[in-house]
Symmetry: C2
Subunit: 353 residues, 2 copies
């Protein structure tokens, strides 16, 4: 099938750009201590998860239990939920998953650790834990070395739990536009993590993994002596927001739109905010990068003068935020030049529970 014949709005993945992005990341990690554990919250598609594992990823990161369930169902063997699972009903489901795959989950308080241990023991499975250490995001995670040590001792004394290591994610530093500032902060945080590692070691706490890192700092984190896994997700697809950092990665994901109304001063497409997320700002039109645009729920309005566009012509949007745009779709067209090579199910879409 030709791209021209796709019903719109539709999500397109340029396979050459995607492959190039993945190659660039794997090149950065070649012969490094740090392994890749890409984030499912971006790619939302187990076909892509499998490709990333074939190319060298050690496993997959995700945010939610429902995402982990999709990954386990697809046969992914090593899954990190980079988040807290605290509801006993969800912990019950988590222990069921751990019969299929190695499941690691983040913790930041004793009460949750006790509940994880209780339900894992009852169901005769082992859950792996990362203690979340807050590097300045002020979200989940404990703030001090002493708290990490305290939780580590609790996990080591708990039945059916294994202390795997530390979650140290600095997402707040990933979108800092000034390269120098971003690098300075990354190195400062890296030192903090090194100190935490030493502190735990001095207190006889053994940790296997330090997990964190993001697309925006991947070129720094790849050379880390401390991180063992990189949770970067956006590099596979990229978006307008991330390309402001001038990274090596290029936008592989676009929303194909059709013109449904033609005027002297504007064209109107069938793609609005329900087909291209706008919470980080408006997308850019690939063919008209300078054009002023507006997006209502189901319409996109593009201001153009002296144009030759006609009804049903195709237009491509480059999303501002790939993670929330892919979440609006159930399928993705895999394209090369003008041809559709395949259609992948976006089977991780709408899984926010």
């Amino acid at each position: 099938m030709k791209i021209q014949n796709i019903e719109t709005p539709a999500l397109l993945l340029d396979i050459d750009v995607f492959n190039n992005n993945v190659n660039k990341m794997m090149e950065k990690l070649r012969n490094k201590k740090v392994k890749l554990r890409p984030h499912f919250k971006t790619h939302k598609c187990t076909e892509i998860s499998k490709i990333l594992i074939e190319r060298g990823a050690k496993g997959i990161t995700c945010s939610k239990l429902s995402e982990a369930e999709v990954l386990a169902e697809a046969g992914i063997q090593d899954i990190l939920i980079a988040n807290q699972i605290v509801d006993p009903v969800k912990i019950e489901r988590l222990t069921q998953l751990s019969r299929k795959s190695k499941i690691t989950v983040c913790v930041d308080c004793k009460e949750n650790i006790d509940k994880l241990s209780e339900i894992a023991k009852k169901n005769g499975v082992v859950l792996f834990c990362l203690i979340e250490f807050d590097l300045g995001m002020s979200r989940c995670g404990v703030d001090t070395f002493e708290e990490v040590l305290e939780l580590a001792k609790i996990i080591n004394a708990s039945d059916n739990l294994e202390l795997e290591g530390i979650q140290a994610y600095a997402g707040h530093n990933s979108h800092v536009l000034d390269n120098e500032k971003r690098e300075e902060t990354a190195i400062h945080l890296e030192n903090k993590i090194a100190n935490l590692k030493k502190y735990l070691n001095d207190n006889n706490i053994k940790i296997n993994q330090i997990s964190g890192g993001s697309t925006g700092t991947s070129y720094i984190d790849a050379n880390s002596d401390n991180y063992t896994e990189l949770q970067a997700g956006s590099f596979v697809y990229m978006d307008r927001e991330y390309t402001r950092l001038n990274s090596d990665y290029k936008c592989a994901l676009t929303v194909l739109s059709s013109i449904i109304s033609v005027h002297k001063d504007r064209i109107v497409t069938d793609t609005g905010a329900k087909s291209c997320s706008t919470e980080q700002g408006l997308p850019v039109i690939r063919e008209l990068p300078e054009a002023s645009i507006g997006l209502s729920e189901e319409h996109g309005t593009i201001k153009v003068k002296n144009h030759n566009y006609k009804l049903l012509d195709k237009i491509s949007y480059i999303p501002t935020h790939c993670c929330t745009t892919i979440n609006l779709y159930d399928k993705m067209y895999i394209v090369k030049d003008d041809e559709v090579l395949d259609i992948y199910r976006v089977d991780g879409s709408h899984k926010s529970m």
Copy 2:
């Protein structure tokens, strides 16, 4: 089931508030010429469509072919797609739908009218058309009376098409905060529509329906001598953005969240931007309306001091925009006080094609 036992994040509809909103709208329209044709792009749930028809709505408005398909499948007999359907593949599907329900669609150019007629004729069905007249949104629609007349003549001369009337939607006026300005504009546009109606009448063009109007101007449009149907959608659920207009309608829709991490200065919930839309701004916490909040994709951070919140306590978000929030869900809990009365499928969710 008690609300406390719902797995989160979850969408909750307070049935008392919903009923009150619907009653208030129907009261405004009692003994009026204007009938209600509520917009599916907001409620996204055919159970709600059926309730609205039982309470007096004449039919349902929607934005997309895929929404119309869901509505027809659910047995809704009178469906308006308040949008242009121009792709021949979609027009083919549209004509299939018109075997189940009365289908009306908007048009704003000859090329589209010709294609609708051709395919409707081929398939032996009749499609009803509204000519879209632009009231200042600068989206789809023609700008002048003369263009409306020209398209009306073309439709009247086309096989298998019926000219139903005019689509005159002034969404740009619906969110104007200043009541006086909003009313002034509504009256100005009402005069414009009256003039258009007279112009068409003088030119022997018969029109049955003038469709438009929105929640923000519903109290004005309900008294119109020109509009025959009101497309208001948001009044059923409402949201933070719309309540700024100080209308009679109250927020019936909330996102139930659980606390997954507790700190001295903040609580963190399991509800982020993938469970509560933020493209029109951040939601408000019902229990902590003054609190400063942050939303990343899967986390909500709420700044609180000297609090007693504990792990797994429930928090309710009032979305800024109901239409894009409900689009993130597959089901909705119908609640009254602390009890879950029912669960409705959000069967119109993710239908943006």
